[in-house]
Symmetry: C2
Subunit: 230 residues, 2 copies
């Protein structure tokens, strides 16, 4: 097992904050592309869709990188957030299950641009093994252990049918993967040392109609990215 590089840093940044950092990061990158040199917490918060006080408190956990009376230096903040998220190093990702969703994920540009390298695509269906998807050749699931070892994969993305998810997950964990992103509609059973994030497309849809009724308290247009966290 090669080094899985478990970033040392991270004193104690609240999980809720970490979940928002990528949103800030994207907003900052958009600003950077436009050539904006600095941005105030008010403006950045508005782009990211959050309260400005919350934004400031979030950023304050990284350190005092703002300048009073001026705002934050866009490029410097991008660097600091990337660093905190561990995006300054590359993470190898394996996608298991190359159906429609797996293909969508493989082709999704958002990954490579961050520090994520899609190292392998795996599927159990031998009729698609060998196909080229997003420039990669689909390999058979039997090669999972070899691939994880050889490519030093540290993140597994499960896009298989529900029935296969748990066993795939077990095999991933068995060869040292500690982070799993699960798109299958099942609750995975994992030891505490492994972090699983779950994304369930149909659940998102089911929640939707229940929230937009004329709530007397006026819930007002939300836009959370999901994950209540713990």
């Amino acid at each position: 097992m090669t080094r899985r590089t478990p970033r040392p840093r991270e004193r104690g940044i609240p999980e809720a904050t970490v979940a928002r950092l990528p949103v800030y990061l994207r907003a900052l990158q958009a600003l950077d592309d436009q050539g904006t040199p600095t941005v105030s917490s008010e403006d950045l918060a508005s782009i990211a869709g959050v309260n400005s006080a919350k934004l400031r408190k979030d950023l304050s956990h990284l350190g005092s990188y703002g300048t009073r009376g001026v705002g934050y230096d866009v490029e410097y903040l991008i660097y600091q957030i990337s660093r905190e998220l561990g995006l300054t190093q590359d993470w190898s990702v394996a996608i298991i299950g190359i159906g429609n969703l797996g293909r969508a994920l493989a082709n999704y540009g958002g990954f490579g641009s961050r520090g994520f390298r899609i190292a392998a695509l795996l599927d159990a269906d031998s009729s698609i093994v060998g196909d080229k998807v997003a420039g990669l050749s689909v390999r058979h699931i039997d090669a999972l252990e070899d691939v994880v070892e050889g490519e030093d994969v540290s993140i597994g993305v499960i896009a298989t049918p529900a029935a296969a998810a748990q066993s795939v997950c077990d095999r991933l964990i068995g060869c040292g993967v500690t982070s799993v992103l699960n798109f299958a509609p099942v609750v995975l059973n994992v030891p505490p040392s492994v972090d699983v994030r779950k994304v369930d497309l149909s659940i998102e849809l089911q929640i939707l109609p229940s929230t937009n009724n004329e709530s007397p308290t006026g819930t007002a247009g939300r836009s959370g990215s999901g994950s209540p966290g713990a």
Copy 2:
């Protein structure tokens, strides 16, 4: 504009609870398929991956549908949860942006089985307009207003590139859609009466590596489905 049926009920169920109801629902349906007539909070909680006290408290918000000493009647609970989520009526969904992700969504079986009917697929790229995807013919985005009106669409799913998302969203809202599920990596600007849920694939990935480091406090394997909510 036909009836958009804004369910009247819903006194004040916590958002965190609503977000978990679909998970319970799925577990219950699996039990029902196996012919299990009743289930205890302990067992159901274990399947759904939550604390049993939390489960009981969640369900208590719907009313007292359990029997002490016995548990919950599976079928009745399915009905009550479906009802609360508004799944007892059909919702028409339009997917805009038929790239890889849009295709994955269109083919995703989980929708039709619940009360969701995929009414239309729309895209701006005329080279794919007319293609058959998941049994539906892709229509041109110009027809958006006609489609929403004609099919009584109440939910829009945005799977377009980031740049197109806001304008598509505006058009959806313009013709009466009040619920939007956004897969594009931008924060949409909407009036408070519209509910937007955002799912961002690359953000989930970015959060992942930051959470599984040997946190001194032992954060232990999480598995939240996302959405910190408001």
